[in-house]
Symmetry: C2
DNA sequence: CCTTTAATTCGGCGGATGCCGAACTATCGC
DNA sequence: GCGATAGTTCGGCATCCGCCGAATTAAAGG
């Protein structure tokens, strides 16, 4: 049967603990070296090398040589989407009561990158705030930036001009597998993530997809998005006074 | 790491030839019995039973008992989406020149069900026709039914009233892995598929996801959608004279 | 040019799992 | 009830493949 044979190969590649750990790490959006990935997956360099060769050959990841280093990365958004969809099914698979928690888990649940955009409680909270304030419309089947939202995001420093296609095309919903709620993906999501890192609101945590919220980020998200991240009720953004009226512009910093 | 462990399990389940064949068969949208699936996957009943137990336990498929028969089906659209996304990556994985062809392949390429909607050349051609005639807007990131499209589809006999949410929410694009072009999924896609089967335009092929185009279907698609399926240039629908003016109503038949 | 570090290749070990047939259970139709 | 058919469970076989360490290649840098 057409397609089936290769589908098996792809799924089998993901269906191994070491390789899945590698792919999950690369889902952080950063390119990593073989040694780093071997360390993260707790396997020897030689074993990692074998896995990486297979993943490259199957075109799930790509390699960039830089001197004696070889950087690996997810090859395309399509592969990232596939991995997300597997994560999502897997997350729902298991009754929540069985999900063990750890410090590391908590960090990931709080904030992380998902290929090129934000996920976790922070990602969901930002999405909720944008929806509450009428900046975007978000549903499982599609998302859209409103006129007010375009102004607001421009003021935030997100560059939405480059991909000029329809407003809807680049604001995609992504179901968060830890929160099981929607967050913003697509070009809009990528820009929000980029800008948060640029502003120093969030910083990458070494050897992890997790992101750490800085004091600047805490106040920035409060002032600009109406989010109080000290409050355990992260999911209840407050409407901004300025919502829809055009937003204050945040200067570039750092 | 949260999520990773189970993602491995899910992917590993798909990453076996017999199980993938079973899942691919169930992607046809019909519930099938264990014996049928054993036959399709060319394994013994006992082996199939083992595989099916695992798939049920992992909640990728569900079971309905009917007397001494047990019918298996894909458990949710989310699982179907995951399988599609794997198929898509797998299809792109392999350089086209290496794809072997067979009679069976050709039937699948021509027309098939994809969980609950149409795929293959016919699926893509219908989507193209709807776009050409201004009935829907379709892009990789989202789809939408126009006012004219709503009238047209109502005339065709598709029931779009039940799910009353936004027009966009139930017209989802789905990238066809054999054609590598978009076709219509979501509620709209499911209704088009249902109606084509109801009208006897397409019929299911035994033991396959493939669909056979009937003479009625050929004339129906020509008259109502402007498609000439005898023409190898399937992908060039003609604009309908009636497009946008409200469409003729097709009576229920069969 | 020699040391150091990154990465690959190879041989061999060991665990995991897909597979079957035979025995067993469940349900139908007579 | 009894035979027939659908499906499950179990034991055992065979194969696959992930893993490691040691040897090898590649590149950087003194």
């Amino acid at each position: 049967m057409v397609g089936t044979a290769n589908m098996v190969e792809v799924a089998a590649l993901v269906g191994d603990t070491a390789r899945a750990t590698i792919l999950a790490a690369l889902m952080g959006g950063q390119a990593l070296t073989g040694s780093e990935l071997a360390f993260l997956a707790r396997i020897s360099r030689s074993t990692a090398s074998e896995h990486l060769s297979k993943l490259v050959e199957a075109r799930l990841i790509a390699i960039t040589k830089q001197g004696r280093f070889r950087y690996y990365r997810i090859v395309s958004p399509r592969v990232a989407k596939m991995l997300e969809s597997i994560e999502l099914v897997a997350a729902i698979d298991v009754p929540p009561r069985y999900q063990p928690r750890s410090m590391k888990d908590d960090a990931l649940r709080f904030a992380r990158t998902c290929y090129d955009h934000l996920a976790g409680q922070v990602g969901v909270a930002i999405a909720d705030a944008l929806v509450t304030n009428g900046h975007i419309i978000l549903a499982e089947e599609g998302g859209e930036v409103t006129d007010a939202g375009a102004r607001f995001l421009a003021g935030f420093g997100a560059d939405l001009t480059s991909k000029s296609r329809s407003r809807r095309l680049f604001c995609q919903p992504c179901l968060d597998w830890s929160e099981r709620r929607l967050h913003v993906a697509g070009h809009v999501g990528a820009e929000i993530c980029r800008r948060c890192l640029e502003l120093g609101w969030l910083r990458r945590v070494r050897d992890s997809r997790a992101l750490r919220l800085t004091p600047d980020g805490k106040s920035g998200l409060r002032d600009h998005f109406g989010l109080d991240l000290d409050n355990p009720e992260l999911l209840r953004p407050r409407a901004l006074a300025s919502a829809g009226k055009g937003a204050s512009v945040i200067p570039l910093r750092r």
